[in-house]
């Protein structure tokens, strides 16, 4: 497999300016004109500013940012719904940004599916017909399209609702249809633009579980957009944080929480319950050659809060951390766990209060 068809998505130096003469301003923007200046002087919107991002195949990449930060714009560049002002979006060595309309149609039919915030189901079609939409566009036979549709309706837990119309279903159920419709396309890339944001909190967590469960087996390249940090930390193998169209940090959830790249990200992750996000392996100390190893063992991917609870109830102060293969990752003690669970910024301000 050469670098050209790694099946990763490579976004390179991507700029998007909204407005009728966007191309005229790309040079000024590259030379340092800010979003505010562009808006005040020329009435154009700088939506994306020099985005570089590798989206690895088979993993969930979450793009997170506040409303208006450019998330929807960015994700729509991946399937060509929005064309860039400058830059490249590479997949399998091809640049999505320069595809002809016919190539783009083919790409969307075969390689990339999408789930929308407001579901965007076809209201005049039943659940079954909605799920069969992608295959029917590809020219698959009607019976094969129906077979695919039934399979995925079943997988998202909607068996029995095939003949309902979207309007007869709750929001959560409608988005299951949206998910089934996207999965029935059998595409390797799945784009989800705030797919769960319109749902009630409990339903949202349900949907996240369904997604994670399906992903275990499907290993699709998922790009998940959200403005919700908890959702990002729960789903993202990789998390990218966007602010006013500029990328702030790209990294694992530990990177984001433990090593925020700047004060914006640090503020963002301040309120996070770190004990529920961090895995013990991220704070384990490697064992030295002649260390004596504790008997109590914990799994490397257990979350800090779970480990802390187990250790306190068992009355042990130190534990051995092993990964799934049984290899020793290191040791961990309660003070280190507590230290990692407390946000350094909060600790600093508390220290000031005490003084």
């Amino acid at each position: 497999m050469n670098a050209n068809d790694s099946h990763d998505i490579e976004i390179r130096h991507l700029y998007k300016i909204f407005g009728s003469e966007s191309r005229n301003y790309i040079k000024s923007v590259k030379d340092g004109m800010t979003k505010a200046e562009l808006n005040d002087l020329h009435n154009h919107v700088l939506a994306l500013h020099d985005i570089n991002l590798t989206i690895p195949r088979g993993r969930i990449t979450v793009i997170m940012g506040l409303s208006g930060s450019g998330k929807s714009t960015l994700v729509r560049h991946l399937n060509g719904l929005i064309r860039p002002t400058a830059g490249e979006v590479l997949f399998d060595g091809k640049d999505v940004a320069t595809m002809s309309p016919a190539q783009l149609r083919e790409f969307r039919r075969m390689k990339i599916a999408m789930v929308f915030q407001k579901f965007a189901l076809l209201p005049h079609r039943t659940v079954l017909q909605n799920a069969a939409y992608g295959p029917s566009l590809r020219g698959v036979s009607a019976s094969e399209a129906e077979r695919l549709a039934r399979h995925w309706i079943d997988r998202v837990g909607l068996a029995g609702y095939e003949d309902y119309y979207p309007r007869q279903l709750s929001g959560g159920m409608q988005q299951r249809v949206g998910l089934a419709r996207a999965l029935a396309n059998d595409a390797e890339i799945l784009l989800m633009d705030e797919a769960f944001s319109a749902l009630d909190p409990l339903i949202r967590v349900d949907m996240q579980s369904i997604l994670l469960e399906l992903q275990q087996e499907l290993q699709k390249t998922i790009v998940f957009i959200t403005h919700d940090l908890d959702e990002a930390l729960r789903l993202g193998d990789q998390i990218a944080i966007l602010r006013d169209g500029a990328m702030q940090q790209v990294g694992s959830r530990e990177d984001i929480v433990l090593r925020p790249a700047n004060s914006y990200v640090a503020d963002f992750v301040r309120e996070v319950n770190r004990g529920r996000i961090l895995e013990v392996r991220s704070v384990a100390t490697p064992v030295a050659a002649n260390d004596d190893l504790p008997d109590f063992e914990v799994k490397a991917r257990s979350k800090l809060d779970v480990v802390a609870r187990r250790m306190t109830s068992e009355g042990v102060a130190r534990a051995l951390v092993r990964d799934r293969q049984g290899t020793v990752v290191g040791t961990i003690d309660l003070p280190a766990i507590l230290d990692a669970m407390v946000n350094p910024a909060d600790a600093a301000s508390d220290a000031e209060d005490a003084a």
Partner: protein
């Protein structure tokens, strides 16, 4: 200076101008009249065929066929029963044949309006330019007194069914066009984006999303077109279209009150039947928007 009387073109030049235009049009009619008649002759055959079918078939069969059609569209027994009662009364009072002629006429006019109007509406919805060109034409078609465009139509085609159909279609086609355009423009942008995201071609988008979602609105346009065609039958009878309009016209000229009222009521009855049927059909098209299963 005289500010009371408007500075007019001289009478002589005005007459000359009218004569030139009339003359040019007359030449056009002479040169192209037969070609145009030939083009529209299938229309004449269609209308004659339908008329003969309705008039010369056993009345009970015609009644059964009409009832079946109404039921298939409306799925409402009330409308079917109402239609049967009205048609039986119409037949009993001696207006069966004229009514059949009028129904045939309205059916053909509506068919033409739909076949011509829906594609025009689609084009208007896709392109701002077409929209800008067609909209004023539609405004003119709807406000121009119909007698005015009867003149050129009669000059080209003479008296008879074809000019009648053309005049009725000109008068009645705007709602289909306007509401097709409106219906397609009203389709939610997020559903269209989904269609794009799944790789729809323009044609697939039209067929799977835009037309089905616009259909209830389009049906409202068809309903209006039918009503307007019926409203034109009296005017059309002035240029030789036979049907319920003719006795009305005759009744006006001879002051036959009862005859006028009876034929007028027959027109009203047909209008109500067609209106309720098409509306019920329009409602059925929106079944998916009901919340209960």
């Amino acid at each position: 200076m005289d500010l009371i009387s408007f500075p007019e073109m001289s009478r002589g030049s005005l007459r000359a101008m009218r004569q030139t235009i009339d003359g040019a049009f007359r030449d056009f009619t002479r040169a192209w009249g037969e070609t145009l008649e030939a083009i529209f002759s299938p229309l004449q055959s269609l209308l004659t065929f339908l008329e003969n079918l309705l008039i010369h078939s056993p009345w009970i069969l015609v009644l059964a066929a009409i009832s079946l059609g109404i039921w298939l569209l409306s799925r409402s027994w009330r409308i079917v029963v109402g239609a049967v009662v009205a048609l039986v009364a119409i037949g009993y009072f001696g207006m069966w044949e004229d009514t059949m002629r009028t129904i045939a006429m309205v059916a053909v006019c509506t068919l033409i309006a739909v076949v011509v109007g829906i594609p025009i509406g689609i084009l208007m919805a896709q392109s701002k330019r077409t929209n800008a060109v067609v909209t004023p034409v539609l405004d003119m078609m709807q406000t121009m007194p119909s007698f005015v465009y009867l003149i050129p139509v009669v000059m080209i085609f003479g008296l008879g069914k074809v000019p009648g159909v053309i005049a009725v279609v000109i008068y009645a086609i705007p709602p289909v066009i306007r509401l097709t355009n409106l219906g397609i423009r009203q389709v939610a942008p997020d559903v269209l984006e989904a269609a794009d995201a799944f790789g729809s071609s323009d044609w697939q988008k039209l067929r799977d999303v835009q037309l089905p979602l616009a259909l209830p609105t389009i049906m409202a346009g068809v309903n209006q077109t039918i009503m307007m065609s019926l409203a034109m039958v009296v005017v059309a009878s002035m240029i030789g279209v036979r049907g319920l309009g003719q006795p009305v016209l005759q009744a006006i000229n001879q002051q036959y009150f009862t005859m006028g009222v009876m034929n007028g009521l027959a027109i009203v009855a047909i209008a109500i039947i067609m209106d309720r049927t098409t509306q019920a059909y329009g409602h059925r098209l929106q079944k998916h928007s009901e919340v209960r299963k």
